[in-house]
């Protein structure tokens, strides 16, 4: 509708939009990024539309260099293939491209995360008698193992941020300190966790996630309250820069909200 553009600036960004914009900012231009579906895919595409036009987005469906104009509903939408530099088989994407170390960043979501950035997308509760059976591993375990770095984004609440995950689907900093290195994984593991309240980064020695920034209008206490373990807070917590009009506008254009 013609009224959409002028109204755009009046609508304050939602907490999901702030999270997505902050996640997008993390991705340097030129990054080769293996993208999970959902919010990580939206964030990676926002980065590509903003400051990272040379980013290479890889989806596990085998599309390398995909440039979707709309958020794909599934990991294998036709537009990903149409806009990709090349389309390869699933065995090839996981062996030649991911396992061989050609991916800079794995961009993942999860149902649960613990203080070392281990991710659960398998079950809530016991494996044999689950309270909630989640979809399972998909590509995530090997993305978390083999991408040079992992970015994680998920909404911040106590159901998601737990002392220890019910099931390690994808390894973060494992049990902390050198335990990830001892497993022999080639990638460096989680570098940043972006939530709708703030940003966490792992302690360089222990690997434990530390709150390093909060988003405009949110408080450190909110982050502590929404975390299921005793959250460590950096000595100086930054406030993330407020989303710019351009970021909000590009994000809404991509997800198709600008015509709402």
């Amino acid at each position: 509708m013609t009224l959409a553009e002028p109204m755009l600036d009046l609508q304050a960004p939602t907490s999901d939009e702030i999270m997505t914009i902050c996640a997008a900012r993390e991705m340097p231009n030129g990054t080769v990024c293996f993208v999970g579906i959902g919010l990580p895919s939206i964030a990676a595409n926002l980065a590509r539309r903003m400051h990272a036009p040379d980013a290479v987005l890889i989806y596990e469906s085998g599309t390398i260099g995909a440039k979707p104009t709309r958020p794909p509903l599934s990991i294998g939408d036709g537009e990903l293939a149409d806009t990709a530099d090349c389309v390869v088989s699933v065995p090839e994407i996981f062996s030649y491209w991911l396992q061989a170390g050609r991916v800079d960043v794995g961009f993942l979501g999860a149902a649960q995360i613990d203080k070392y950035g281990n991710l659960n997308t398998t079950v809530v509760g016991e494996y044999d008698h689950p309270k909630v059976r989640l979809p399972g591993a998909g590509g995530a375990p090997e993305i978390a193992a083999s991408a040079k770095e992992t970015y994680i984004m998920l909404r911040h609440n106590k159901r998601a941020f737990v002392e220890s995950v019910d099931f390690i689907t994808s390894v973060g900093n494992f049990h902390g300190n050198d335990s990830r290195n001892d497993l022999g994984l080639r990638g460096n593991g989680p570098q940043v966790v972006i939530t709708d309240i703030g940003i966490m980064r792992p302690d360089s020695v222990t690997g434990e996630l530390i709150l390093t920034a909060i988003h405009p209008g949110r408080t450190v206490q909110e982050a502590i309250d929404a975390t299921g373990w005793s959250l460590r807070v950096a000595p100086e917590v930054q406030e993330t820069a407020a989303p710019t009009t351009e970021e909000i506008s590009q994000l809404r254009k991509f997800v198709g909200r600008d015509s709402a």
Binding site: V90, A137, T169, V171
Partner: protein, 287 residues
């Protein structure tokens, strides 16, 4: 040499209750019509294999065809849960479902091993995760050259592999393009294979990036829109509404059972099913 036949005959001739059956198609070219025919012919005790069990496997599981599922990601892409799958795993309802759970990389390695005539595939994977605690088909293996510890997963060799593709030529060679998934691997790793295609053409499109020769395929059936509600690149788009509507059908066992009775058992062929679906949409729009 592939036999050109009907889908009903292809399924009846190649599948038996108790078989291990893999229907592949990585979000694209998902062989829905073939899955429906398996339900229609009331097979039981199947071990179903699929990297991404989605709506078609929810239908197969809910309809009671499966005793076991070998998989790496089970959900309704972009929508949420598969309620028939979840009910089977969480509540053994209406019956229990044994699961053998892997990652995509592991499943891909298993298909490649199967297609290659090797007993196992090898990868850097699963290390540190809880998957090996619950899945016996994930084992460490030492590289005889470097001493490095890697992960071995056994070959997948289904009794029957089933895919959908855009085209076959008159000699039965199959051509497909767009997202390729493990379409070639599942045909080559399976003892028997069925391919449904959109159409038979005099010669395959130059767009076909994957060509599977006729002589490794057992049966080909022409089933237009046979991948609906998934899509066939260059033929029709994904029916996202169907995936969204599936949430409500799948959530309630009675609604689900009634859907299966009306739409699958109440139709004789996939073409009848598609016609019924189109009529239902028309009624929904006009009321």
């Amino acid at each position: 040499m592939a036999e050109l036949t009907t889908l009903a005959d292809a399924v009846a001739a190649n599948i038996h209750s108790g078989d291990t059956v893999a229907l592949e198609g990585f979000t694209h070219l998902i062989p829905f019509a073939a899955g429906h025919e398996i339900i229609r012919q009331r097979f039981r005790d199947l071990t179903l294999v699929r990297m991404t069990p989605d709506v078609i496997y929810d239908q197969l599981i809910g309809a009671g065809t499966a005793k076991k599922l070998i998989f790496s990601w089970g959900g309704n892409p972009g929508v949420g849960s598969l309620h028939r799958f979840r009910d089977s795993v969480e509540n053994a309802y209406p019956h229990a479902l044994e699961i053998e759970e892997h990652s995509h990389a592991g499943m891909a390695a298993r298909y490649v091993a199967g297609a290659s005539g090797l007993p196992f595939g090898v990868l850097r994977g699963y290390v540190g995760t809880n998957l090996p605690d619950h899945t016996s088909t994930i084992m460490p293996i030492e590289c005889p050259f470097t001493g490095e510890t890697l992960t071995a997963v056994p070959a997948l060799t289904p009794d029957v592999g089933i895919i959908h593709a855009q085209q076959a030529d008159e000699a039965g060679n199959v051509g497909l393009w767009g997202i390729q998934g493990v379409q070639k691997e599942v045909v080559l790793s399976s003892r028997r294979s069925i391919v449904t295609v959109e159409e038979i053409v005099p010669s395959l499109s130059s767009k076909a990036t994957v060509v599977i020769p006729s002589w490794v395929i057992n049966a080909i059936a022409v089933v237009p829109r046979g991948a609906h509600p998934s899509y066939a690149h260059g033929y029709y788009a994904r029916d996202n509404d169907f995936y969204q509507d599936w949430e409500a059908i799948s959530r309630d066992i009675e609604v689900f059972n009634s859907w299966i009775e009306t739409n699958i058992h109440g139709t004789e062929t996939y073409a009848d099913y598609l016609q019924l679906l189109a009529d239902q949409v028309k009624v929904a729009i006009s009321t």
